[in-house]
Structures are given as structure tokens and as C-alpha cells.
């Protein structure tokens, strides 16, 4: 047998350093988590709701910083796209998910080993954790080996795993675990409790008493009997009585418990750091894909966009507001998608039309798509070609702020001023209903001023407004929310390239409630 000291050293430490991260291909671009915070456009674009939905159930990985981090080089975006594409293979995502679950269980076990006091109990939690870890690594490598991997990230990771499982530390740990588990499984004992006296003795032959009782009451039992599982406080520690019982059991089986002591000492240094980092970072992909899969089930599409940091002719088909889709999916309501494009000199969408028609939703969709593209994620739409902005600015209506004594109009102006000061020709500005608290001629005057600046900078802009006049300026595409006549089942509206039209309100409401003759025939099937 090799000595413990020889076995804990990995053979190829140099290689371990060369694998860095499944999220960042270049150490220079690595995230500095301390300095990163929520981008300013987050709440206006409802990105917060998206992030919340994505990371729900993934809180322990603390993924937020990765979703805040707008990537600087198109190369990392490609690196991530490669990995996202890799997940189209369902076997891979299943393998990764089961690996993560195992790692989660392992962490829970280690946590317990930390917390409990009884020696034999501590050692047992540690042993179980080590066993889960080894199996997790083994299973993952096995699954990856069968796959035709193409991404730079995964190829490097598989290489790393291959070397790791041959290291002597890993090999001896698996051997020890197997032996010890067999021994422990054989331990059985019996407790006899009478009054306050507890007797520990070797296990009784099973008398199947429960079956006997069940037979007598059989006729009153109408469903499979659930044992009455009393709610016991879920503490992992043992108190002095349990510890005492365990000590007496150890006395009945001394050899087995001696082996347990040895194991802990020998394998204190697992798990490997790179594996731990991988386990966290891969959740960025897993969590996001889990959400996209859920939303795809509602008949919506996601795509990996074509991105560029120079070309501003963008387009998207069947794009949608992901935050809205998330909340509509919960209520099982359909989501309306929108197609849009900007070509040649077109840079600005001015959105007009009836309220409740999806104008704001369109503006958010536009912003979300560009933000998500910027962090290397697939975007909500069937296909998309997007621009990589240096920054996304938003100007949405704000709740009246009483502490801040500024008027609403003044506040609007201050905010748009600071946006126009900070933005560059490579920025995106999204404006939703600005200058609503003043006269139409004022609003028009101010709106035109803002638009002129945007036109001058040649930046991409979305402007939701009730001022029709703004839709006729240069570089502007006029789009409008409409009531969907062709498909009254949809409760939200399309935004299309055209001016607003005036439908009779009463008929529109009837249609909205799906109560025309045809609607009702459709809704009540004979």
C-alpha cells in the first residue's frame, strides 16, 4: 500500500493551471466579482425579472455577477455561443445536470460533517460526501467521453478530467470508499425500550408485526397506508443519548469503526478546485437554458444571434419580451411575438398607437435582446442579427418622487440630459413615454430636440410616444400597436410598420373579450 503522503499529489499540476474557466476563455477578461453591480437599464427592461426566473433554484451558485457582466470582446461571446450550441445535445445537458445535483448533495453532506459533534457521525458524513463526489466525477467523464464535443471550453474540460481521474489520490480514495461502505452496511442492531431504560443488543429476527396489525384493520383501509411519519426536528447532530447508543453499537462492532477513523485522516484534501469552479460556472448555461426550454414549450423560439460591434442594420423575427413571456407562461396565456428590422440608414423606431397595445413591451424586447446578446446568451426570437452596444440607456416613466422636489417634466429632462451626455454612437437608447406631463406643443418641441441628437449620433434608438409627428423624421421607422383582427384569441397586440388606426372602441372591447358570433362558436365546441 502506498503511503498517504504520496497519494495526495496530482501528477500534472502544470496542466491544471492551463484549464481556466468555462465562461472566460482568456484569463485577462476574467470577471472581477467584487466590482460588478447591476447595470442601470436592468429594472426598466425587466431584466431583473428575467434574472430572477433564470436563477430561481440556483441561488447557491450566486450567478448574478455573470449576468451583469457585459462582455468586452466578441471572442468570448463566440466562446459562450459554442458552449450553448453544445447543449443542443440532450445527453450533455443531462450529464451536467446530474453532475451538479451530485455536487450539491456532496456539499450538503460536507456541511453536515462540519456541523455534527459525534466523532463516528462526522466521519460517516465525510465518507458519504467523498463517495458521492467520486461517483459524480466518474459519471461525468464517462458521459463526456461518449460525446462528439466541439466547443473549446468542453474539449479542454474533458482533457482535464481524464488526467484527474488517473491521479493516485483519486484512485486510492475510490478504493477505500468501496471497502468501508460494505462493512457499514452489515451493521444491524436492536433497541429495547422500557420506561426510561434503553438496551442495545443484536438485531432481532423480523416478526413482521406491522402486517399482522394491518390485517385486522383491513376493511377500513381504503387507500395504501401511509406510515405516520412524525415530524422530528431535522438536526444532523446527535445528542448525548444517540451518541451513547452509537458508541455501544461501535462496541458491538469494533473493527468496522476503526476503518472509519482511518479514512477521514487520509482523504482530507478533496475536492479539486477546478472542478468546483466548473460546477458553479456551468450553471450559467444550465439555468439560462432551463428557462428557455420552459418558455419554448409555449411555442416561442430562442436563437443564438449573429452579432457585430460595427453593423447597425439589425433584424429579428418572432422576438418577444422574455420577462412578459415568463409571467404569461405561468398564467398559461399566449405571447405575441414581433418581427422588426432596420436597414440602410434606418436607426430609430418611433412607436405610436392605442394604449395597452404592446408598445412598451416592444421597447423592452428590443432592449432585452441586445442586453442578452451582450452577455453571450441565446436571445428570445426565431432569428436575430444584433448590434453589440457599448451601453444601453433607458428612460422610462418613474413613480412620482415626493422627497425629490423636482417636477415630473424637470425630472424627465434631467434624466434625458444625463443620458445624452453619456451616450456614444455605439450606444442604444430606449425611451418610453417621455414628456407626458406637459402640453403637446411643448412635448413635441422637446421630443424633436432629443430625436435630433439621436439622429446626429447615428445611434440605435426606440422611442415610445403619443406624438405622431416624431415618426416622420429622418432615419426613423414608424411602427404602431394594433388590435389583432385576424386572430382575436391573442390578448396582446402586434407592433407593425404602419401608422395607428382608429377602430370602434366598443367592437374592439367585444373582440378583446372574444364574444363575437364566430368567437363564441369557436369557444363552445358542439
Amino acid at each position: 500500500m502506498l503511503s498517504a503522503k504520496d497519494e495526495v499529489n496530482y501528477p500534472d499540476e502544470v496542466f491544471l493551471m492551463s484549464f481556466f474557466s468555462i465562461l472566460y476563455n482568456n484569463p485577462d477578461d476574467d470577471i472581477c466579482e467584487k466590482n460588478i453591480g447591476e447595470p442601470s437599464c436592468f429594472s426598466d427592461l425587466h431584466l431583473y425579472q428575467i434574472l430572477l426566473a433564470v436563477t430561481k433554484g440556483y441561488e447557491e451558485y450566486d450567478l448574478n455577477p455573470f449576468f451583469y457582466d457585459s462582455l468586452q470582446s466578441p471572442d468570448i461571446i463566440t466562446y459562450r455561443h459554442e458552449i450553448f450550441r453544445e447543449f443542443e445535445d440532450i445527453t450533455l445537458s443531462e450529464a451536467i445536470k446530474s453532475f451538479s445535483q451530485n455536487m450539491q448533495t456532496m456539499r450538503k453532506h460536507l456541511g453536515k460533517a462540519d456541523k455534527v459533534h459525534s466523532k463516528y457521525q462526522k466521519e460517516r458524513w465525510f465518507l458519504d460526501a467523498a463517495e458521492i463526489y467520486c461517483k459524480a466525477v466518474q459519471t461525468l467523464l464517462h458521459s463526456l467521453s461518449d460525446l462528439d464535443l466541439r466547443s473549446r471550453g468542453f474539449l479542454a474540460f474533458r482533457e482535464f478530467l481524464n488526467i484527474y481521474v488517473r491521479s493516485s489520490g483519486y484512485v486510492s480514495m475510490t478504493r477505500d470508499i468501496e471497502h468501508l461502505k460494505t462493512e457499514l452496511a452489515g451493521v444491524r442492531y436492536c433497541l429495547y425500550i422500557r420506561g426510561r431504560e434503553i438496551t442495545v443488543l443484536n438485531a432481532e429476527p423480523d416478526s413482521e408485526y406491522v402486517g399482522e396489525v394491518e390485517a385486522v384493520f383491513g376493511r377500513f383501509i381504503d387507500k395504501p397506508v401511509q406510515p405516520f411519519n412524525e415530524e422530528f426536528p431535522d438536526y444532523n447532530d446527535m445528542n448525548h443519548i444517540e451518541a451513547k447508543i452509537l458508541d455501544l453499537v461501535a462496541k458491538l462492532h469494533p473493527d468496522v469503526f476503526l476503518l472509519l477513523d482511518d479514512f477521514q485522516e487520509k482523504h482530507e484534501n478533496y475536492p479539486d478546485k477546478s472542478i468546483v469552479r466548473f460546477d458553479r460556472e456551468i450553471q450559467f448555461y444550465i439555468s439560462y437554458l432551463e428557462l428557455t426550454e420552459r418558455i419554448s414549450r409555449e411555442g416561442l423560439f430562442f436563437c443564438i444571434p449573429v452579432v457585430s460591434d460595427t453593423v447597425k442594420e439589425i433584424c429579428c423575427s418572432e422576438g418577444f419580451d422574455l420577462a412578459l413571456a415568463i409571467s404569461l407562461a405561468e398564467r398559461k396565456e399566449p405571447v405575441v411575438t414581433n418581427d422588426f428590422y432596420l436597414e440602410d440608414k434606418e436607426r430609430i423606431f418611433v412607436i405610436t398607437g392605442p394604449n395597452q397595445g404592446g408598445k412598451t413591451t416592444f421597447a423592452r424586447t428590443f432592449g432585452q435582446l441586445h442586453f442578452l446578446a451582450r452577455i453571450g446568451c441565446p436571445v428570445p426570437g426565431k432569428s436575430a442579427r444584433l448590434f453589440l452596444p457599448d451601453k444601453i440607456f433607458t428612460h422610462f416613466k418613474k413613480e412620482e418622487n415626493i422627497v425629490d422636489m423636482r417636477s415630473s417634466l424637470e425630472d424627465d429632462l434631467m434624466r434625458i440630459h444625463s443620458i445624452l451626455t453619456e451616450c456614444t454612437p455605439w450606444s442604444i437608447i430606449i425611451i418610453n413615454e417621455m414628456f407626458t406631463s406637459t402640453s403637446v406643443s411643448d412635448a413635441l418641441f422637446l421630443g424633436k430636440k432629443v430625436m435630433k441628437q439621436a439622429i446626429k449620433l447615428d445611434l440605435l434608438c426606440v422611442y415610445v410616444t403619443f406624438l405622431d409627428e416624431l415618426s416622420t423624421l429622418e432615419k426613423v421607422v414608424s411602427i404602431a400597436s394594433t388590435v389583432v383582427l385576424e386572430n382575436p384569441d391573442l390578448r396582446t397586440y402586434k407592433v407593425v410598420r404602419k401608422p395607428a388606426d382608429g377602430l370602434s372602441y366598443a367592437i374592439a372591447i367585444a373582440r378583446k373579450n372574444r364574444l363575437t358570433y364566430e368567437n363564441i362558436l369557436e369557444r363552445i365546441q358542439s
Binding site: K112, A113, K122, R124, W125, D128, L184, R188, Y189, C190, L191, Y192, I193, R194, G195, R196, E197, I198, T199, V200, L201, N202, A203, E204, D206, Y209, V210, V213, V216, F217, R219, F220, I221, K223, V225, Q226, P227, F228, N229, E230, N236, M238, N239, H240, I241, E242, L246, L248, K251, A506, I509, A510, N513, L515, Y517, N519, I520, L521, I524, S526
Partner: protein, 532 residues
């Protein structure tokens, strides 16, 4: 064990309200009422409100909340099976013939349930051990109640004619024979574990004990004697005692007992729960008939007629009745009210027009209430009533302004209609009262026409009280075989008879009369001060 007094082959499960929480009215707090009824569908709530059914339920309940809850639940668990309706009618006939016996059975069940519940406290059911002892106690109570019910059955069962009651009494004899009851009592004794418990254990996660399995009791030698005897060699058992004030120690002891006892407690709990739920079902089902008895007593005392309706297959379109009156109005006034007669076959559409305050709404309500009462198996407020079974009964009545400002009145009307359409199936019945009048007449008529025509096409029966002349007249001109036009009768003197007569819609409603009357009594002010 099943009581099956509402359905020949299954239990009745109340879906709404306080019954879902606890079977004891003593434990119901008024403040929880709205919360517990919150899942009651909005369209049903509309029906309760539109038909003023609470008045009916209150008469059935006679102040008993439990009866009220049951009545409301049975009413809205719309029954569409004729066999079931006739099954209930037979049982109800038995109840009227033997009302004292039925009320006595009900009393026994109510008392038993109260006694059982009062024996529970916060600790019952918390531990496997308390579950065991509580269950044994409860099973004792139930056993006594069975004996009491069997005694009544012995004395009166032969006077009951209905299939439901006959099966109930024979089920009692079958399931609770005297020998079985005494064998149960023996087992309870054994399950008291007076000599301690044996349990086998294995090592689980963190080396804590798992898979505790209770073993049949056996005698064990005194550990003190044994350990003394074996102390020189390698002992095969070790004992220790928990110190007097060691609270945590005793807790652990209880925990080990709890884990070992879980299967046995599960069995006992399941049995006790099963029998308890039998008694709850029995109480709930009887409560419906008790409610009907109460209502019957009340209506007889005010001299209003009652009869058992004749339900027809729901494919058909039967619609005929004599002296059908609005039971809620009669109950509210405490006197006999005017009824209506209609003799019509194959009618899908009834349009009711005519004078304001002429009894149109009352008539519409009487149709809805009678239909509901028939379909829950009750008698109906009429001298005779024959109608086809509907797959559902819906009401769409004009409302006051809504105050939440979220949507206009017209939008609100349509939203409610949409809610109804969500639930409508072919073979349903919809009652409209002055619907879609919140917009102008042309638009209101158009939307009414579209809705009504679509409903008729889907074989849904419609009764529509309306002032929309454009709408009613256009339907009249279509001259459809399956439509019936009724008009609130108004004599030349302006006097109203509150009776509906067949007749074409008239352009004017008689609002003028009302106007004259009201405005004559209290004239409008003629001048205002300038606003400051």
C-alpha cells in the same frame, strides 16, 4: 364504508367554503368565510347574487351554518344525471314521510362528531404515539355510534322505501357485525404496549439510526442481571438509563418510539380517519335533506305550493310549468306570490319584454331557481314543473357601476359574459337580464344578437329580459319555431298583474308610468345656486 345518500355509487365531496376546512360549525369563524369561499367560481357567485339564492339557503339552514354550506355546495354541484335526480327525490320522499327518524339519525351523527372533535387538542396527531392513543379512543366512540344507529335501523328500517336508505341500512348490518366489533376491541388492548417496545435498527447517513422496525413484544431477561453475569466476557447487550431530569434524553427516547411506531400508527390513523370520514359524509348528505325538510316546512306554513319536478333528458327542450313562482321572493315576503304558467315544447329561446316593474326579473329568477332546485334533487316551487336537464345554469344580470375604475361598465359586462362562455357547454341554460345595455342601442343590440345566435347554434337555452328593441324585434321577425316571446302584462289602467303573456315586443317600455309616479311624489329641485 359509504353512506351514498346523494349518489347511488359515490360520495359527495363539497368543493367550496367552510366544509373544506373542518366539519364543525363551532370552529368556523365569520372572518374566514370570504376566504374559504374565495375559490368559488365568479360565475357561480354571480348566479347566487342574481337569483338571490342566499335567501333560499338561509331558509334551508334555519340558522345552522353547516346546513347552509351544504345546501350551497349541493346546489352548485350541478347534477345532470336523471337517475341521480330521481334517486334523491325518492330519498327526499322517505325523509318527508319519516322526518322524525331522519332528524334523529342526523342528531346522533352531529353529536358523535362534536364529541370526537372535542376530544382532540393541539397535541393530538403531533406524535406517532399520540396518534395511536387518539385513534384507539376515536374507534371506541365510533363503535358505540354504530351500535346506536343499528338500534334505530332495527326499529324503523322497514318504513323506508327508497333505494338509498335501504342500501344504507343493510350496509350498516354488513360492515359492523357484533363479532367484528368485539375483535377490534381486543386488538386495541394489545396495541397499548404496556411492556415496552422492541425495534430493529440499521446505520444510515451520518451513522444515525434508520429503518426502525417495530417487533412483536417478547419477554426479556432483566438487563441488570444479564450484564452482571456477562461482564467478564464480551457482552452481547448493553443497557443504560436516562437520568431523571434529562429532558433532551427523554425527547430522544420519544423520537425512537415515534420512528418505530410510524407504520402501526399509520394503520390506526387511516382506519379511524376512514370511519370518521364516513360519518362526515353521512352528516353532509343528510344535511341536504334536512335543509329540504326545513324549506318544505316553511313554504307549507305560508301556503305556497310544492311539487316534485319531472326532469327530461337533456337532449330535449321541454319547458312547461304551472304556478311557478320565485321562491326567494315568497320567502322574503313571507307570503304566497304570483306564479306563472307556460306550456311550451322545443323552445330554445325565451325573450321577455314589457313593462318595468312588471315582474320580468322575478319571472326570470323563478325559472333559474326551479331549474337549479330540480337538478339538485329537490322539489320545486310550482304546482308542476317539467324541464330538460341542463349542463349548467348561468346568469348574466345588469349590474350597478363598478367602483374599481379598471374597466368601463360595458367592458365589465362583456368580461362577465366571457367568463360564462368559458364554462358553457352545449345543453346549458343562460339567463340574461337587461344585458349589454351599457352601450348605445345599436351596438348593444348587435352584440346581443351575435351572442344569442351563437349560443342557440350551440344548443344552449336562453332566456333574455331586454329593453333593446332593435334586438328583440329583429329576433321576432325571424319567426323561429324554437323561440317564445313573452311580455309582462299591463292592463289599460296601467295596473300590473306580474304575469307573463305571449306577445310581440313593443317599442315603448312603460318607464313613463314609473316616472310619473316617482316624480310626482318627489319632484326634482328647480333651481341651483351658482357654483362657487
Amino acid at each position: 364504508m359509504k353512506s351514498h345518500l346523494l349518489y347511488p355509487d359515490r360520495d359527495f365531496n363539497p368543493e367550496w367554503g367552510m366544509l373544506r376546512r373542518s366539519p364543525s360549525p363551532q370552529r368556523w369563524l365569520n372572518r374566514d368565510y370570504d376566504k374559504m369561499w374565495a375559490c368559488f367560481p365568479e360565475y357561480m357567485q354571480m348566479t347566487v347574487q342574481d337569483l338571490e339564492l342566499d335567501i333560499l339557503f338561509q331558509s334551508m339552514a334555519c340558522g345552522d351554518k353547516f346546513l347552509f354550506e351544504v345546501a350551497k355546495n349541493v346546489f352548485f354541484t350541478t347534477e345532470t344525471d336523471i337517475e341521480t335526480i330521481l334517486y334523491r327525490q325518492d330519498i327526499l320522499r322517505d325523509c318527508t314521510a319519516n322526518s322524525e327518524v331522519v332528524r334523529e339519525i342526523y342528531r346522533i351523527v352531529v353529536d358523535l362528531i362534536e364529541e370526537y372533535l372535542s376530544g382532540l387538542n393541539w397535541y393530538s396527531g403531533k406524535t406517532a404515539d399520540s396518534v395511536r392513543s387518539t385513534s384507539v379512543h376515536a374507534l371506541g366512540l365510533f363503535t358505540d355510534a354504530f351500535l346506536e344507529l343499528k338500534k334505530i335501523a332495527g326499529e324503523h328500517a322497514d318504513r323506508f322505501q327508497s333505494g338509498g336508505f335501504k342500501e344504507f341500512f343493510s350496509m350498516l348490518e354488513r360492515e359492523t357485525s357484533d363479532e367484528y366489533i368485539s375483535s377490534l376491541k381486543e386488538k386495541f388492548e394489545e396495541l397499548s404496549f404496556k411492556n415496552g417496545i422492541f425495534t430493529n435498527v440499521e446505520l444510515g447517513k451520518g451513522n444515525k439510526g434508520i429503518n426502525y422496525t417495530l417487533q412483536k413484544n417478547r419477554m426479556i431477561k432483566k438487563p441488570g442481571w444479564l450484564s452482571g453475569f456477562l461482564s467478564t466476557g464480551s457482552p452481547s447487550q448493553y443497557s443504560f438509563c436516562i437520568a431523571d431530569r434529562d429532558i433532551a434524553g427523554f425527547r430522544t427516547l420519544a423520537e425512537i418510539k415515534g420512528r418505530s411506531m410510524s407504520s402501526v400508527s399509520g394503520i390506526l390513523l387511516n382506519s379511524s380517519d376512514h370511519i370518521f370520514s364516513f360519518f362526515i359524509s353521512l352528516k353532509t348528505e343528510l344535511a341536504f335533506y334536512i335543509g329540504c325538510l326545513n324549506l318544505r316546512d316553511r313554504l307549507i306554513s305560508i301556503g305556497s305550493p310544492l311539487s316534485f319536478p319531472v326532469p327530461a333528458e337533456h337532449g330535449g327542450r321541454d319547458f312547461s310549468f304551472k304556478e311557478l313562482y320565485d321562491v326567494c321572493l315568497a320567502l322574503q315576503k313571507g307570503e304566497k306570490v304570483t306564479g306563472n304558467d307556460v306550456e311550451a315544447e322545443d323552445i330554445d329561446l325565451i325573450i321577455i319584454t314589457g313593462a318595468n316593474r312588471g315582474g320580468k326579473s322575478t319571472f326570470l329568477r323563478s325559472i333559474g331557481v326551479a331549474q337549479l332546485m330540480m337538478q339538485c334533487g329537490s322539489f320545486v316551487p310550482a304546482e308542476s314543473f317539467r324541464s330538460n336537464i341542463c349542463t349548467g345554469i348561468y346568469t348574466h344580470f345588469q349590474r350597478g357601476e363598478d367602483h374599481d375604475m379598471k374597466s368601463g361598465k360595458y367592458d365589465e359586462e362583456l368580461r362577465r359574459m366571457s367568463e360564462i362562455v368559458d364554462h358553457l357547454k352545449p345543453g346549458g341554460l343562460v339567463l340574461f337580464n337587461e344585458s349589454f345595455a351599457a352601450t348605445n342601442e345599436r351596438e348593444g343590440s348587435e352584440i346581443s344578437r351575435q351572442i344569442v345566435c351563437a349560443l342557440l347554434k350551440r344548443r344552449i337555452k336562453v332566456a333574455f329580459v331586454t329593453h333593446l328593441y332593435d334586438f328583440s324585434q329583429s329576433l321576432y321577425e325571424k319567426n323561429m319555431d324554437n323561440s317564445l316571446f313573452l311580455r309582462a302584462e299591463r292592463k289599460n289602467s296601467g295596473e300590473r298583474t306580474f304575469r307573463m303573456k305571449e306577445g310581440e315586443p313593443l317599442r315603448t317600455s312603460y318607464g313613463r308610468d314609473l316616472y310619473e309616479k316617482i316624480f310626482h311624489e318627489s319632484p326634482l329641485p328647480v333651481s341651483f345656486e351658482d357654483r362657487k
